[in-house]
């Protein structure tokens, strides 16, 4: 099922900084990109100002295939532990992308019973509000 939001309690917005702006700008254009070190090629998520492998500060944004598999997941079923602006239950997943990085997100349209670790998924973009688009995931054929 698709996640439902309460209009009374807006979703928390990402805090966009000079280090992570490229990610969120791409999401707005329905593109998933990951930070990539220009010098050694390391892919990095979440974005940071220096490459932990070679200490370069020259970064670029590399397009993702958008495909990955569920690495781990949880189901928020109890209101006090969940975000009050989202109707429970809702699923949060960590997806391991084909290119190796992991990203935390939600399933766009899924039933709890269908979710499993290793499930093939692909990115979709959810335009939640004028100022907020989130990358989410849906099942794909392997």
């Amino acid at each position: 099922m698709v996640m439902e939001y309460s209009p009374a309690i807006p979703l928390l917005r990402p805090l966009v900084t000079l280090d992570n702006r490229g990610f969120w700008d791409a999401i707005k254009q329905h593109k998933l990109v990951f930070q990539k070190c220009k010098d050694c090629g390391l892919l990095i998520h979440r974005p940071r100002p220096m490459c932990p492998r070679c200490n370069s500060q020259e970064m670029e944004w590399a397009p993702s295939t958008g495909r990955g598999r569920i690495y781990t997941w949880v189901n928020f079923v109890y209101a006090n532990a969940a975000y009050p602006g989202i109707k429970i239950p809702y699923l949060v997943v960590v997806v391991e992308m084909e290119e190796g990085v992991r990203i935390l997100s939600n399933m766009y349209d899924a039933k709890r019973e269908d979710i499993y670790i290793g499930m093939p998924v692909e990115v979709v973009f959810d335009d939640i509000a004028d100022d907020l688009t989130l990358p989410k995931f849906k099942r794909r054929e392997a």
């Binding site: 781990t72 109890y78 969940a82 602006g85």
Partner: protein, 393 residues
Amino acid sequence: MTVMRSIKNKTAIVGIGMSKFSRDSQRTELYLACQTIKAALDDAGLTPEDIDGLVKQTDDASDEHAITSSMGMGNLTYFGECRWNGAPCAMVMRAAMGVAAGAANYIVVYRAVNGASKRRMIPSMRTSGQMSTSDLLQWTFHAPFGHMSEVGRVAMIVRRYMHEYNIKSDQFGCVPVVCREHGAKNPNGMFYKKPVTIEDYRKSKMIVEPLRKLDCYEEADAAVALVVTTAERAKDLKQRPAYVLGVSQNMVLETEELNTYYRSPVAAFSEMAQVGKKIFSMSGVAHKDIDCVQLDDSYGPFVPMQLEALGFCKRGEGVDFCKGGDRIRSGGELPLNTSGGSLGEGHIYGMNHIVEAVRQIRGISTAQVKDAELVLVASGAGGPASGLILGGK
């Protein structure tokens, strides 16, 4: 390593103070801090004028100057903070280094938190809208997806651990059962005479699947204080000293508070493994000589993962080690959290685990291990971690 070896056996915990655990203390946190520090000083046979050092946890609201002006400590020569869930043993390390180096003679380590009655704020909003870079990582890449709570992050780790080792969630039930069994004997705790059964565990409601209510600590109002001094000075005080034989804290590449699912393997707790190596090598103690352990049980499944990380069993065998609870209960080969810990005594961020280790060395625990001489404490599973081996000699 050389430096840390030099403080082996040279410092001790000589005073302990602990408030009652409650759901509403009806006191300010500063009140609890002062009351509990005074109790620790009385326990040691010291007065506030003797104290010349304080070690605080960053998130605590009771600042050092508020403590000194309330208690009449006139000449502080050493003060500072430790952060994260893994602060407790690291705070003892700071104090031990302080007294061993001669920066101060008697250092108090304290925490006082109205965790239950004063609604906890999400970390980023804790202090006047200021945000640290690590809060920013949480906020920006987790919050918009409804993933803010600590229990949600722990559930992510636990799900993957279950997948990797083919564990069913009810196999974690033995941890809260044993902790509550120990807590049921402890009149100071929140769960005195309130044991739970494995059946209660199975029926316990899901919070963030796969974690149940009984897997998670309950918020409490509580305070703890410890007094640390040199081994020399310890001999002249009231209590049997609990000597610091090994102590360490650790952070590895990609350490974050409870976000280990960005690295592999998620449940290996690499920081804790490093802490374990260091405290065993520093103390020269063998695993088989440890009389009991006081581990981070803020979430029950952390216990088998820590037993693996600390080397008490092999990777993936933690759940089998805890099976049925016989090894980890009072009277077993490695009694766990003998005061009840976070799940069975109360939650004060792992500080009570150190108090209980000292009680074991003194022989006054409510689940006393006979002739306990060596006790291991660990704090901060799944994040910046710390650990401690205390000894009676």
